[in-house]
Amino acid sequence: MQVEISRRKFLQGSVALSIVGGTAVSTTSLLSGEQEEHHTLPENITTKTGTGKAENIPFLCGICVNKCAGFARVENGVITKLNPNPYFPKSRNMLCPRGNAGIQTTYDPDRLKYPLIRIGERGDGKYKRVSWDEAYEAILNGTDKFKGIKHILDEEKDNRATIGYCNGEGLSKEGFEVLVGEKIGSPNYVDEISICLETTLGAYVNTIGTYGEADLNNADYLIIAGANRAEAIITPDTMDMFKRTQRRGLKTIVLDPRFTNTAAKADRWYAVNPGTDLAFVLALTYVVMNEALYDKDFVTKHGVGFEEYKNHILSHKYTPEWAEKITNIPAKEIYKTAREFMAAEHPIYYQGRRSVFSKNDFQLRRAMAIFQALSGNLDKKGGIIYGQKLALPKEEVNSPMYAQVKDRFDKDGIAIPAQKTGSWIVFRNMVLEGKAPYPIRAMFMRKHNPLAGVPNTAKTVEFLKKMDLNVMIDILPSDTAMYADVILPEASYLERTSPVASYGFLEPAIVQRRAAIKPLFETKVPEQIYKELAEKLSKPLWEITKKYDEDVQDDLKGKSKEEEEKYYKANGFDLADAWEKPVEEANKERVAKAFGEKAWKTLEEKGVFYPEMEKYHKQLNPNEFQYYPDNKKYYTTRKDALKVVFNFKNLTKKGVDAMPTWYDKWNFSVPDGQFRLVTGRHAQFTQSGTTNNMMLRDLIPTNYIWINSRVASQRGIKFGDVVEVKSSVGKITIKAYPTEKIAPNQIFMLHGFGGSSEKMEMAYGNGGNDAAIIEDKIEPVYGAAVMHETNVEIRKV
């Protein structure tokens, strides 16, 4: 990597330049001796907004998964402020701290600015700046340091499955799936889902037919377990929920091993033992079944296998007294909660999100969904709603068929393997352990940082080192990017127009992210990168297909050059044909086709569109807006089609219990002198993606290990002391935060810190990386990573 302006220099520069805000300087003055294209950068890290001319461009936030809407204020080509968008019913006129700090992602001095090719060893951060074409060329043909994809596919006889690929959540993710999955033809995809909420989604969809949306605006009783809406912000749940907590209409029961900011807002907080929520739900269910508190009409009408479930619960004697020992929640509290829940008019057992906590997570989510259904509070106001989604025309992809491609194999120990997204841990570990039936030789990666996200970082490093070719498309030189051979710099979300999206549920809308400024430096929007890479690879890979693919050979027999070209195009082997139109044009076409020209205009201007928006959208007070009138909201949409699967018999065929059942092996226990590690989030960070954000670093400079203050004082650990945290797979050093907000046998740390990439000046070496110490365990249904089953030792250093 070329010598660039360091963060420190940038800061110093800002001191000299700062006092008058607003005016812009070109990068040429900042990057000494570099011939740069003219870009406008803010002259200070924080820019005071001006009173002169400004553009307000609607964007969708990309700093986490929520996709909140905002307007970017652009003055003289510089984004000076991000403001909330009052038109979007999901994010309801707000931006969280991260959303506000998004500017710092775009103007991060450590950003990837131009394509890079590795010239050193993997992980040592030695890269050479190259042109885009040289970068694509290196992917195709390799360099003296690594092999190109052409070479690899030739050796693998056109088995496209030799390429693995991964991508984190985002609006351009689908395009990457089209490129590597559909067009290049690899089945070996892993994404964030198997280190995220896979079991929750799976269990809810299979039990009540949707993950749904909790109508927290109208609910009156809420059990929220293992979800921390005050710190892990989800729109609109977070905004709706906390306006009515603390005896203002929404009685709130929080279950969490630690005292979170959500717990601080609760009516009751139960410090549940990690991984034992299922016993709690089963006990709640027992009370409800035993006392016949459930909505009888509802379960009769919509239930499948209700009686069997009732017998199952009662015969297993899942009493509150039984659960008390397992969960650390007093039996009388369980009785009270179960009775209150069923007596409430609009009770919600919140679905929860995030990652998989323990091996019983799928059954836990099933039990939760069923418990919700017992109240009958589904598909109605104040309950879990199914809602509506505005349909956009589908974009057809002409996917080629490759005869040589082999099936995905990451199924070891998994009952129901996910076909598309697989299991990160199983995939990686099988490759590492030589259990893959064919070699995995290349990883195509985008916007994903498995070194920080997938448990057992050491294995991920080993896995990436095993590859012949690693390609990374990203905004920042992440830990994982440092193991890539070719790095392609992507425009940040404020510099790109993204494919239009539809947000469903209670108040559906179409939303579009528009580029606020042009891509800085030599970065490009992802769809352009996909297209250009596809163009580069298309013909050479086609040659390899022709060489090994007997089906194609048969089809091409006796065909002329022109006919062959026609065949190539007609059968989707032209990899670039999925990106014939730029995103802006494609968006316009799709929206205009579905909702008319006027809808497109509204969308361009406001970033949001939904039918009757002009009529429905009203400001209620300086803070709040009406998006849909109450009688037009989609509270009830499923009606008679609603089905609740109490007894899911087909699961037994896969070796999964048809009904949630507790096993004693799940009892919580920690060996003496050790601690159970729990991890989580803060409102000021999005995993590893924001640790280099200067603004957010002001709010949380680093992560700490929470340790019970009495235990800490026994061990002579004081606030700020550095401790070593060691598990069976690794160790980290991290500062200590003694607090009573956590149990004596547990510790907690924020996820996302402890970066290993030296190219990220603020994140590098700051705090501890939880993925380095979490053991790579999976739950048995989908093979999703289990995050809270690692015990650790702590030592003051």
Partner: protein, 187 residues
């Protein structure tokens, strides 16, 4: 001429600190943890795990109270701290001599030194940014996820803030000092 104040429905606050970031980005506040114009106060709940007192855990967003009898203004030797026509307490950085007397006199810890200008800086109610452009909300109010804040003219009986203060019980911080704060916490 207005008399600007802010009502805070502080029980809504989840300590996410979006307000703090929005303030910094809007007003070009100097970077640094100590350099904040606004903040959210929190505390360690009373008790021992697992018996922690829920009612003792409070999040209290705060900032300059724009007092009508501002001690910071009284002690400023050069009138660098002044009230503008709308009753907003401001610092004229040209006149500030950095004696930091105001920082000691302010009962709310609402002031800090901007090391770029080496003068004292504080909340302006966005008067030189958003209000100057004719907008009617401050950056902290506009961005708040749980809509804690309502900014407005206390002299206008029809303003949202006047209505709120008329209909809801409220309190001010350190009111016994006679500073007449214009931040009102709704119960």
């Amino acid at each position: 001429m207005a008399r600007y104040g802010m009502a805070l429905d502080y029980k809504n606050c989840i300590n996410c600190r979006a307000c703090e970031v929005a303030c910094k980005e809007e007003n070009g506040v100097e970077l640094g943890a100590e350099k904040h114009r606004i903040w959210v106060g929190s505390n360690n709940p009373d008790g021992e795990w697992p018996n922690l007192s829920l009612s003792s855990a409070v999040f209290l967003p705060s900032q300059c109270q724009h007092c009508e009898e501002a001690p910071c203004q009284e002690v400023c030797p050069t009138n660098a701290t002044y009230y503008n026509d709308d009753g907003i307490v401001l610092v004229d950085s040209d006149k500030c001599i950095l004696c930091t007397y105001c920082m000691n006199a302010c009962p709310y810890d609402a002031r800090y030194v901007d090391e770029r200008t080496m003068t004292v800086d504080k909340c302006t109610f966005c008067s030189d940014t958003r209000l100057a452009r004719g907008e009617t909300t401050t950056a902290c109010q506009a961005t708040c996820p749980t809509k804690v804040r309502t900014f407005g003219d206390l002299d206008d009986p029809n303003s949202e803030i006047s209505q709120l203060l008329e209909n809801r019980e409220h309190f001010s911080l350190k009111a016994h000092l006679g500073t007449k704060p214009k931040l009102f916490y709704l119960r």
